[in-house]
């Protein structure tokens, strides 16, 4: 698999993401935000975490206008797979590639810790190696992860099986972590080729460091 990893001014998870996909045996290319096109022959675009443009105005609001994001839009419209992690998720919602928006955490804190996540839907290109209801342990690190969508939007997400992950306790019961509607931690678009989540699977690859649950998530894109 060939993975394009975007880099904006302020991105800081591009090397972790590169390390993760290379550890899984894939080739990667970091793409600067001023590029107008994506590399040839890619299988996946990752919008990694960080603080693009210093999170000024709103997280992700300025990055979405970068030249490379116009190329990502075209790529996604043609069915190409796109994964946004943390700030990447914020950028994809700001760009309108994913529904809803990410607000400041309810407790106003930057939350950085391991968090249990419940797998909600697996019939997609991302979580197909996980089991429905499975509890994963993945780090989160964000201040603006409070997912908001109106009631009609939430109903659509549920009906189309677009909810990927929910924050939960170790038994899989949903918990309030940052105030997200329906404890949502990750979603996909209606056509299930654009994915976004606040947790960082690329930081959960070695059990000695706390968890290797990120491997089966990222490996999902192989099939």
């Amino acid at each position: 698999m060939k993975v394009a990893i975007l880099r904006f001014p302020g991105t800081n998870c591009e090397f972790d993401t590169k390390y993760a996909f290379e550890k899984l045996g894939h080739t990667t290319e970091i793409v600067w935000h001023e590029e107008k096109t994506l590399p040839e022959g890619i299988d996946l675009v990752v919008v990694p975490g960080g603080f693009s443009y210093g999170d000024y105005l709103r997280s992700g609001s300025i990055a979405r206008f970068s030249p490379v994001m116009q190329a990502v839009k075209i790529y996604a419209d043609q069915g190409g797979k796109v994964l946004g992690i943390c700030n990447g998720f914020q950028i994809l919602t700001e760009a309108g590639l994913l529904p809803g928006a990410l607000k400041r955490n309810n407790n106003l804190h930057f939350i950085s810790k391991y968090q249990k996540l419940c797998v909600v839907n697996t019939d997609n290109a991302f979580l197909n190696r996980c089991n429905k209801g499975e509890v994963l342990n993945i780090p989160i690190a964000h201040a603006d992860g409070n997912y908001y969508i109106d009631d009609a939007g939430l109903k659509q997400l549920e009906e189309n099986k677009q909810i990927l992950l929910r924050y939960c306790d170790k038994k899989g019961n949903p918990v309030v972590v940052n105030g997200s509607v329906s404890s949502i931690a990750g979603i996909c678009n209606k056509t299930k080729n654009v994915f976004g989540l606040m947790p960082h699977p690329e930081r959960a690859l070695e059990s000695i460091l706390g968890s290797e649950d990120g491997i089966k998530m990222l490996k999902g894109f192989e099939s």
Binding site: L57, S61, I62, A101, N146, Y148
Partner: protein, 79 residues
């Protein structure tokens, strides 16, 4: 010409910062506060001379970048 844009979270969208400020005010003894909303103000210095044209343009700026209309409302004042 100057445009003053105020951006706030929509009614019904919980405003965590407003809640925290409200809580702080209450603990300082300001008990007459019913609700607090925290927003941001963006002041634009414009070259335009036509007021309605300027307002239309600022509205477009709000819809495109200055506000995220999924969660935010905005007001425009041209001065």
């Amino acid at each position: 010409m100057k445009a003053i844009v105020n951006v706030f979270l929509k009614e019904g969208v919980l405003d965590p910062q407003g809640k925290a400020v409200h809580h702080a005010l209450t603990s300082l003894g300001f008990n007459d506060v019913k609700d607090v909303r925290v927003g941001k103000q963006i002041i634009l210095e414009l070259t335009a001379t036509d007021k309605s044209k300027a307002e239309a343009e600022v509205r477009e700026m709000c819809e495109t970048l200055l506000a995220n209309t999924v969660i935010e409302d905005y007001t425009i004042e041209i001065a």
